[in-house]
Each structure stands twice: as structure tokens, then as C-alpha cells.
């Protein structure tokens, strides 16, 4: 109101005309000067752009109760639940620090966006069930007045896990647990599979489990934007920058049995502004490490893992970035509208994308170390000969049957794939299990793991590791054309491929929400709530996630999924 009155008073109606009349015609520039002065006065007024001190609007605030490192879906979910569960509105000041505000490398938006309940740990199933409820009512949870409702684009098509004979008993046990937790999963025999999905080749499949409800895939970008919008409307502060340093104090203490421990407390977080040396120390009470694939580095900055190995102090956060490829291909004769997300025993998976016979899929190179541990060292050399034959085998068959399959969108058309294939000698340590006449993707994780330094896509990976399995499972995929491919990061927990939740036992005010190794997106709503409860109440309330606490790395208690192979 005041500003409007001033603007009226300074308007040309009063001031300009009055003064103009007084010194009529003396200088032509007078009107320009008046408007210039007017502009200056306006900018000095409160709310104006100019301030006598340097502009600090791009810097984060000096104080914040909670600093969340990482503005992906997990970090935002923690922020959302903190603001929602706070006792009085505006009681907690939350700052979210995100390095990449375009989310160009964020795992959230590069993921396939699946949600499933077919886990073997009850905690994972519960997390997923809670999240599905959140996603179903997303327009109630994340409603912002006057904004359009979110369109999550959820495809309730379900997951179809296939198990070979060795995996059938594990699958049966898993499904028993899933049903106990309330997931709607049914078991199918190969006969039933053939009847329901005639496009599938059920060779080598002994049992399948099919999610009937609450499983499918959705648009991760929509969830991210919805959370961002809601969290902003709740008063959470955002900052575009990188955390470079933690200022902490330590307390040397002794446990009851005389062991010496050093308890640390973070007091300040240094947030470096993008493309500049400028940084801002943010005083804070709690730091949440939700940096996804880079959370191991953040933990190191806080001094976690710096100590003699074997002690709690020397226990690192075993989370590292792993690169995973996703390919999008076109296949005119592919499975129809009823196709679920199919997960093959070999690790390859695919799902339908849209209506135009496009499919999306990939393969996880080394998800299970326990299965692959069978062949190491000399075994590998022994099988390298047979690998040449068996690897080239299915590909050659493919080639000869369908020369059209050579039409790759991303390769030069002159590439004669077949000849190249024959000339190439078998690599040492090729990926074939002894006794098995098919490529096994679960071996030799060190060699198979792609370099996580960049997000470049290895197109050979599709031809060598993904396509043979897909074409074997779905014969229609023998003829396909890859349209696009991209890579994304997993926040891979090398210890047991499950999330890390809750506080660190020694750095007492650092909380984790990371390490979910590929299922972070689908569990984010529930994990955010669990972490917020831990911070506000001191214990888990909705879902007991104590198996996912940091201390398991020190105690050696693995919370591992029983995978179906």
C-alpha cells in the first residue's frame, strides 16, 4: 500500500508535470532524469532490487535447523515429512542443498520409475506399500492451493518375476512373506504363463510371481516436481550449491567397557556456490545425507570412515555410484497392452513404454555377488573357450534370421556386426558360468562394472548382455531397433544393496537416507517419513527400519534381499 501511494505521488501526474511547468523548455533531458530518480527511489525502497550492501540472495541462509544435502526425491521427501510432522507450523527451518538444479545427472529422473512389492525383506515390502499409498493419494498429500493436480502417469501393469528351477523355492518363500505383509502377488506356472502371455517363451522358467495390484511404473519427474512444489509452499528453503566442508567438534569419551570413542557433532556446513569460490557457512543442528550416489563422499567429508579399520570409527559408508544403462527400443511385433514389467532370471528386464510398440529395458550387471562367487580365477580361464562359442551362438542365430535387426538407430549402418563378432577374441574372464551354456551376468563384478565417471552409454552392452536374454525370453524381440539409450546412477550399497537410514552412531547429528541401490525412488515417500520420525521423535513409528541402521556395517549384519535367479 505504502509503495503504491509513493508511486502515485512520484508519478508523472504530480511531480513530472509540476516541475516541468516550472522550468519549461530549459532542458530536454529533464523528464528522463526524473524517471531515473524515480527508478532509484523505487529500488531503494523495501523490496527493491538494490541494496547498499552486496547482494546475497544467491547464498543460503546463515542459520538453518536442518540442512538436507541432496535435493533428489529422497531429500525432498525428508523435507516434506519434517514440515508435515512438525508440531507447530514453521517450527523447523529446513534448507535443501542441491548441486545440480537441472537434475541432469540425478538418479531420480534417470530411473525407470518402477514400483513393486516383490521384495524378500518385510521392511522393504512395508516401505513399498506405504509409498504406493502415498502415490495413490498424491494429490491429497502434495496438494497445493491453486496449482493444477499432479498427473503421476501410473501404469498399474505389475511386475512379473521369472524364476529358474534353482530359484523356485526362494521365490515361493518370498511370495509367502509378501502376502503376509499384504501385497497382492500370485504365483504362476509356465503353463499359465503361456496362456496369459502367449508372446513369451517359457523355456527355463519353473515359476513366476506376478504382482496384481500396486505394482507398475510412474513418472519420476512428476513426483520430484510435486514434492518440490509442495515443499516450497511449506516454507522449505532451496539452495543451488555444493557442500564442501563440515565444521565439527569432537568429544572423547569412554564406553562402559573402557573402549575409547570420539563423538562428533557438526556445527556448520560450508555451502559453495556454483561456478564461484564463494561459500557460505550455514549453522545447523542436523545434517541429512541424501546425496544419493555421492553420499559416500559426503560421509567422508564428515569424517566417517577415518580411523583404524575394524572399529566403528573406521567403518565407511559403503555407498558408491554405479552406472546402469537403460535402452528404449521399437519392436513392431512386440508384446501388447497387457505386458507387465518382466524380470528375467538372467537379470534382464523390460517394460512397455507408451502405446507405440516401444519398450524400455536393461540389465543389472552385478546385483548378486553371492551367486557369482562360484566362478573365480582359474575357473574363468577354463570357461573362456566355451564362452566364445556360446556368446557368439545366440547372436549369430539372431543375425542370420533377421538381417533387419542390424538397423540400429545409434550405430552407423555400415557396421557389419556379424563379422566383427566373429573376429573378436573372447576376452579373458568372460562371463560364462561353468556348466552353464549361457551367458551369466552375475559374474566378475569388478570387470563388468562400467566406469561411473561419466554417463556415456555402452551400446555393446545391449548387444552382448541384454538383447540375447530378451530375444530368448520374447522371440518377437529378435527384430528390434534401439531408439534411445541413457545411463543413470545407482546409489549402490556394496555391503548388502539396501538402504541406510537413521543417524550415524558417532557423528551424532548426521542422518542418512541413502544407499537404496536402485529402489530409492519407489520407497522415497516412506523413507522420508521414517527419517523425519527418527529426527523428531527419536525412534521409528510407522515402519520399523532398525535393520537398515548404519551400525549394521560395523556389526556385519547384512540385510540382504534373497534374489530370484
Amino acid at each position: 500500500m505504502l509503495r503504491r501511494a509513493l508511486r502515485l505521488g512520484l508519478g508523472p501526474g504530480l511531480l513530472g508535470r509540476g516541475l516541468g511547468a516550472h522550468r519549461e523548455g530549459s532542458t530536454l533531458d529533464w523528464h528522463g532524469k526524473v524517471s531515473e530518480i524515480k527508478k532509484k527511489i523505487q529500488s531503494v525502497l523495501p523490496g527493491g532490487a538494490w541494496s547498499p550492501l552486496c547482494d546475497t540472495s544467491h547464498l543460503p541462509p546463515e542459520h538453518s535447523d536442518v540442512v538436507i544435502v541432496g535435493g533428489g526425491v529422497l531429500g525432498l521427501s525428508v523435507a516434506y515429512w519434517l514440515k508435515r510432522l512438525e508440531k507447530r507450523q514453521g517450527a523447523i527451518r529446513v534448507l535443501v542443498v542441491e548441486r545440480d538444479h537441472t537434475y541432469s545427472q540425478a538418479s531420480t529422473v534417470l530411473s525407470v520409475g518402477g514400483i513393486r512389492q516383490q521384495f524378500s525383506l518385510p521392511e522393504n515390502i512395508q516401505l513399498s506399500l506405504f509409498s504406493v499409498e502415498f502415490l495413490r493419494n498424491i494429490n491429497e498429500y502434495l496438494a497445493v492451493v491453486d496449482d493444477p493436480p499432479l498427473d503421476l502417469q501410473f501404469n498399474p501393469s505389475g511386475y512379473l518375476f521369472l524364476a529358474s528351477e534353482e530359484g523356485a523355492t526362494i521365490m515361493e518363500n518370498n511370495v509367502k512373506v509378501q502376502r503376509q505383509e499384504g501385497a497382492k502377488v500370485c504365483l504362476m506356472s509356465p503353463e499359465q504363463l503361456r496362456k496369459k502371455f502367449p508372446w513369451m517363451n517359457t523355456e527355463g522358467v519353473a515359476l513366476a510371481s506376478y504382482g496384481l495390484e500396486n505394482e507398475g511404473w510412474f513418472d519420476p519427474w512428476c513426483l520430484l516436481q510435486g514434492l518440490r512444489r509442495k515443499v516450497q509452499s511449506m516454507g522449505v528453503l532451496f539452495c543451488h550449491g555444493e557442500v564442501t566442508r563440515f565444521v565439527s567438534s569432537s568429544n572423547h569419551m569412554e564406553t562402559a567397557i573402557g573402549e575409547k570413542v570420539t563423538l562428533k557433532r557438526i556445527h556448520e556446513v560450508h555451502v559453495k556456490v556454483d561456478h564461484s569460490q564463494e561459500y557460505q557457512p550455514v549453522e545447523c543442528a542436523i545434517v541429512v545425507n541424501a546425496a544419493g550416489a555421492w553420499s559416500g563422499r559426503i560421509a567422508e567429508l564428515a569424517g566417517i570412515g577415518k580411523g583404524p579399520s575394524g572399529t566403528l570409527q573406521g567403518t565407511k559408508l559403503p555407498v558408491e555410484p554405479r552406472k546402469r544403462y537403460v535402452y528404449l527400443w521399437h519392436c513392431p511385433q512386440g508384446p501388447g497392452l497387457e505386458a507387465p514389467l518382466v524380470a528375467d532370471p538372467s537379470g534382464a528386464y523390460f517394460r512397455r513404454e507408451g502405446l507405440g510398440n516401444n519398450y524400455l529395458g536393461g540389465c543389472s550387471p552385478a546385483e548378486v555377488s553371492s551367486v557369482g562367487s562360484g566362478c573365480r580365477g582359474e575357473d574363468r580361464d577354463r570357461v573362456s573357450l566355451s564362452s566364445q562359442a556360446s556368446l557368439a551362438g545366440p547372436v549369430l542365430v539372431l543375425m542370420s534370421r533377421s538381417p533387419l535387426a542390424l538397423t540400429w538407430g545409434l550405430l552407423p549402418p555400415s557396421t557389419t556386426y556379424q563379422a566383427d563378432r566373429l573376429k573378436r577374441p573372447a576376452r579373458p574372464g568372460s562371463d560364462v558360468c561353468p556348466g552353464q551354456r549361457k551367458p551369466c551376468p552375475h559374474l566378475c563384478p569388478q570387470e563388468e562394472e562400467p566406469d561411473p565417471g561419466n554417463l556415456e552409454v555402452d551400446h555393446d552392452f545391449f548387444q552382448e548382455k541384454v538383447w540375447p536374454h530378451l530375444a530368448q525370453r520374447v522371440p518377437a524381440f529378435e527384430t528390434l531397433k534401439v531408439r534411445r539409450a541413457w545411463a543413470g546412477y545407482y546409489d549402490y550399497n556394496t555391503f548388502d544393496q539396501n538402504g541406510v537410514v537413521g543417524p550415524h552412531p558417532l557423528v551424532v547429528n548426521m542422518y542418512f537416507a541413502t544407499g537404496f541401490s536402485g529402489h530409492g525412488l519407489q520407497q522415497a515417500p516412506a523413507v522420508g517419513r521414517a527419517v523425519a520420525e527418527m529426527m523428531l521423535e527419536g525412534h521409528f513409528q510407522t515402519i520399523n527400519l532398525s535393520p537398515f541402521l548404519f551400525s549394521r556395517f560395523y556389526l556385519g549384519e547384512k540385510a540382504q534381499e534373497h534374489c530370484i535367479i
Binding site: 493444477p148 498399474p156 501393469s157 496384481l212 500396486n214
Partner: protein, 257 residues
Amino acid sequence: MAAPGASLRLVAPVWNRGTSGIRGLSRSVDPEGSQRKGRTLLQFLADHFYDVEAVREYLLQKQVLKVLRKNRSSTYIKERYGPYVAGAYFILKQGGAVKFQDKEWMRPNGRGLSGELWKLREVPIEAVDASGCAITYQGLDNLLALKELQSLSLQCCPHVDDWCLSRLYQLANSLRELSLAGCPRISERGLACLHHLQNLRRLDISHLPAVSNPGLTQILVEEMLPNCEVLGADWAQGLKLGPEEQSRDTASSPIPA
């Protein structure tokens, strides 16, 4: 294909009621609709005062709660009278109609529920017409308990979405006729999970504003359900039936009781 359709049509198509609803609902779903409209005074005030914003948020929550409360299932009736009566009670309360086996259509009248309903404990329900009812995902529980349900009409239900369709597999053994015409929140993603309903003989998916490619979707649904007659809207009329055949088809349909 069309021949068994006439005998199967247990639900009378009530179109004069539905059409006005379709336009009204599709507008509310259209995300740009609210932006194009002139800003109301409340919107203006909410931008400038936190209190007004809080009040509006509260009102929004109230609206959501109202729909939720309407969809709560009555455990008392279910325990006392069984799932059929509970389902019928729920539908009649919402303003829909039910048809018990070998009985006439039962519709809500102005005086409240008829006493006859409570005597039908053992009689299964074979058809439900829930056109225009505010059924949500939770409210669907009442319908899914009706294991003998052959015909279900969810025409123009504003809250029926893809999530609801993913639960219909529980009726796969009995359901022969399903109408989803005019539901503003159903898209092709939800229609994809109707593949569980292999006994379906007649499916109406016309006037679905959220479906991106109606023609292609209809073809894909037909491929997915080979034994089912799929009714699309105007875009497919020329493909399926001649115009005179179509009009005769609707004329011969039974008049609602």
C-alpha cells in the same frame, strides 16, 4: 459380436443424465482450465495473506475428507447382513442402482431405503449401475466383495481412476459387462490392466477425455480382449457398425425400471 451384446446388457444406458456430467467433469480435470478462468477474489487474497491461504488449504482438505467419508464402508452392515446387502446399501446411498438376482432394479427413492433390502441377505447381486457416483479406490471395496457381479457400470464417476481399474481383476470370474464411459480420470494406462477380465463380453470405453490416443487405444484393447465387444466413441463408429445399425441397437435396449 454384437448379437450377444443385447441380451447381456443388464445395465440400461442412461445417457441423458450422463452427457451433462461428462462436460462438467472433463473441464475440472483439464489442468489449464483453472488458469484460463478469471482469478477469484479468494485466489487474489491467498496470494497476499497467509491466513487466507491457510483457510483455503483447510477448505480443500475438507472437500477431500467429505468424499472419503462417503466412501467408508460400513462394517456393521457387512457383519450383520452380509456383503450383498452392504454393497447394495453403499451403492444406493451414493445414488446408484443395484439389481439382485431375479429381482427388479432397485433405485434410491426420496423416502430413503426400502425395507425390502434387508431381507435380501442371501441373494447375490448381478448388476450395479453406479453412474455418476463418487466412488473412490476405498469405496470400491464394497463392490469387489460382490463375487457374482456380472455387469458393472461406472459411467461418469469422477473419482474412478487407473488405480481403481487395477483392482477389478478380483471380479474376473463373473464380470461380463463393464462400462467406463465418461470417467474423466481413466487413461489408457488403467485400461491396460483390464486384461485380467477374460470373461468380459462387452466393454464401453467411450468419452474418456484422459486417453491420449482413443482410436489406437481401442484397437489395442480389442487385441488384448479378443472375446469382448469394445465400444468406443464417435471416432470408431464408422469402423465398427453402420450408423443405422448403431441407432437400432440403442433403441432396442431395455428401458430402465
